[in-house]
């Protein structure tokens, strides 16, 4: 395995007095797709938000391309080349599709990257091209999910934190999502995808971590997770 792009160690996070994450550890290598799995409330979103600096109190270490992220502001973290796609999409509904993309636009942090442009994204997400000048609030849930990913890509990130992309969208869109993740992987972007849906994760990811009550309980290749009924029953199935 190559040197990790993102390396999280001893990460703890708190909401008020409640500790949510306990010494979370994992890695993401360049160009790799890793699934972060766990039941509702396991702490997946909290982990991603802690990495992005969106949680007020966190400690431990998050190393991204040799930069320590703990202590940085959210915008500084994003500018290092880390993209974040929230689970509740958080589209700017008052803005048009193209304006949403504009908010996300940043020059690549790595000169060798081929920058994402709206046109390049529209070929990846054909639905968005038609809705270009429509208000984003009027789009369907699936289209909004696509838009939120496209918006993040406009920042030319080297790694993306993708929070539950398959949640609450139609099966046909899920299929598109799978193709899209494969496409992104090919272009060299590393992806950390938080998921509850094991079949989905198994299709897109190389490796998996399983989170339960804020602690990492399992790590390994996604194939071995599929075979490990014990872990699946204890930490994933309802």
């Amino acid at each position: 395995m190559t040197a990790p792009l993102l390396k999280v160690s001893g990460l703890e996070a708190f909401y008020g007095a409640a500790q949510i994450l306990f010494s979370v550890e994992f890695e993401l290598a360049p160009g790799e797709v890793v699934a972060l799995m766990g039941r509702n409330g396991a702490g997946k979103t909290t982990t991603l938000e802690s990495i992005m600096g969106l949680v007020d109190r966190r400690s431990g270490s998050v190393d991204f391309r040799g930069h320590e992220l703990i202590g940085l502001r959210t915008y500084e973290i994003a500018r290092l080349g880390l993209g974040f796609v929230p689970e509740d999409r958080r589209i700017f509904t008052d803005l048009t599709v193209i304006e949403n993309l504009e908010v996300g636009r940043r020059n690549p942090s790595d000169a060798a990257q081929e920058p994402w442009t709206p046109d390049r994204l529209f070929s990846l997400f054909p639905n968005l091209a038609e809705a270009r000048d429509r208000s984003a609030g009027r789009m369907s849930g699936g289209e909004q999910q696509m838009l939120t990913i496209a918006r993040t890509l406009m920042g030319n990130p080297l790694a993306i934190l993708l929070d539950e992309p398959s949640e609450g969208i139609a099966p046909i869109i899920v299929d598109q999502m799978i193709d899209m993740i494969a496409e992104l992987k090919k272009s060299g972007v590393a992806i950390l995808v938080s998921e509850q849906n094991l079949p989905f994760a198994a299709t897109v990811a190389d490796r998996a971590y399983v989170l339960d009550h804020g602690q990492i309980k399992y790590s390994g290749a996604i194939a071995s997770l599929l075979n490990d009924e014990e872990v699946r029953r204890t930490y994933l199935e309802l």
């Binding site: 959210t74 915008y75 929230p86 700017f92 509904t93 008052d94 908010v103 636009r105 940043r106 920042g155």
Partner: protein
Amino acid sequence: MSLSGLFVQALNGLAAASTLFLLASGLSLIFGVTRIVNFAHGSLYMLGAYVAWSLTDRLQGVFGFWFAIFASAATIGVVGMLIELTILRRIYRAPELFQLLATFALTLVIKDATLAMWGAEDLLGPRAPGLAGAITILGRRVPQYDLALIASGPLVLIALQLLLTRTRWGVLVRAATQDREMVAALGVNQAVLFTSVFALGAALAGLGGALQLPREPAGLSMDMTAIGDAFVVVVVGGMGSIPGAFVAALLIAEVKALCIALGDWQTPLGFVVAFPKFTLVAEFAVMAIVLILRPWGLMGRPDVAIRPQATTSAQLAPPGRGYDLAYLVLGAVLLTVPLLVETRSYTLVFGIDVFVAILFAASLHFLMGPGGMHSFGHAAYFGLGAYAAALCAKALNLPMWSALLAAPVGGFIGAVVFGWFCVRLSGVYLAMLTLAFSQIVWSIVYQWDGLTGGSNGIVGVWPTSIFSSKAAYYCLTLIVCGGATFVLRRILFAPFGYAMRAARDSVTRSAAIGLDVRRIQWIAFAIAGAFAGLAGGLFAFSKGSISPETLGVGRSIDGLVMVLLGGVDTLTGPIVGASVFLFLQDQIARHVEYWRAMLGLFILALVLAFPAGIVGTIRQWTFRR
């Protein structure tokens, strides 16, 4: 009433609307992005007029004049930038009450700074060179400058719209208005965005003030009139909506102009309706109608109004027996004071002031703490009580006891009427509405010479003979205020008090268990208003005279500072806060010329030292490792 007269008034209204729009658009923009309600916006407007006065004085000719106007706007933009960098930046995450208080404090500082630099006299500005004349329309003369002013509103609207839709900066501003956190997660440095938005909003206010100079002299009361008007416009238009502000400004200015144009109307029934007097309440009426139909304003959105409470308030424990006993003992000890000091002692006068302030602060605390409704216009109820009492005593010649009964009734009626509107809103909207109402009451009292004596107020309101000595009146206020404060506290631990706190903590949950939240809040308003009115009545008889200042915004701020000093989450808060505040004010006012600025700086220091509130800051300290 002739058609041409109507037309001229309509033009006049358009000119006024432009100024209103310049003011309100900046306020709305700043609120949209930073979620801070900038009470200092009126002060920036005033400052714009003063700076323009100084600059137009030095720069002559057409070019010089317009250069001076725009330079004034730019100067105020820079002032706004400095304010954002030094103060606001530190308090974006503080409870909104603290943010409001900080910008309130700024108004005090700016007012005294203006007084120090330009003096107390109104300063008459120059006519605009090249536009000093008038043109004749329909046989009436219309000042050319008014036409220029009329054009400025739509021009600024178009420029702002282009800026917001055609530039990357504008797109970011609109995105941040919706979801600041997400904008940051996409790599946008909000600090830069916030500073620039604040600077632009300030510059717009400055431009409004500067443009007003040829029509109206620069004066020290501009700030409060302007902020009152701007709030009404922003609330009517919908917070955060620029086109909304434009429409609202037009609507309000034209309704006012229409009132003037209609003049006095001889009704068939014989009496005269003086429409021009309605200008005082026109904006109030417009706002009332709009808020009934659309609580979030003409073009606002329901969702931008509510901001989740940063922290839930601490639990209040019912006071035990020991507490009541201590309260009684303290009261008894205070009752012996008149025996220990001279009859005309200043101590007694000071004591009376403190008791009145405690009752006032306790009534405000009732509304703000357990009620969860931030009133920025509580002086209105105090003042209505004071005027009700004074009018009973002077105009109706009623005895003092009945005048003192009228006082809470006055406050109660005011609170019932205004509260009905206010409880339909929450958070910042509610705070702004309370302030707007109090400004309206103030301007009615200030201008209704026939009833209230206008700016002179009502004099010779003295207690009946048995209470004419300071000592006797001291005992009366002690007993009444002490008793009333005790009753207020009792209400908090009656079923109504519990319902009120439940309504504050979760509107949806309270509604789910069958509580009528609005009704509860409305009753809370009425109770707080009645007790504030009682305090006002006692105040009137203690001073012997009252003036519009009795219900001015200054007193509302004083109340807020008292409550915040003591702590919103504690029962003894208002008592301690009022006592400490009065003591400080007494000391500062006696020894310092610019006491307002001192007070403002004191509040700013308080807010900056405890950005999350005193309790919140201590909690944060204990969490840090």
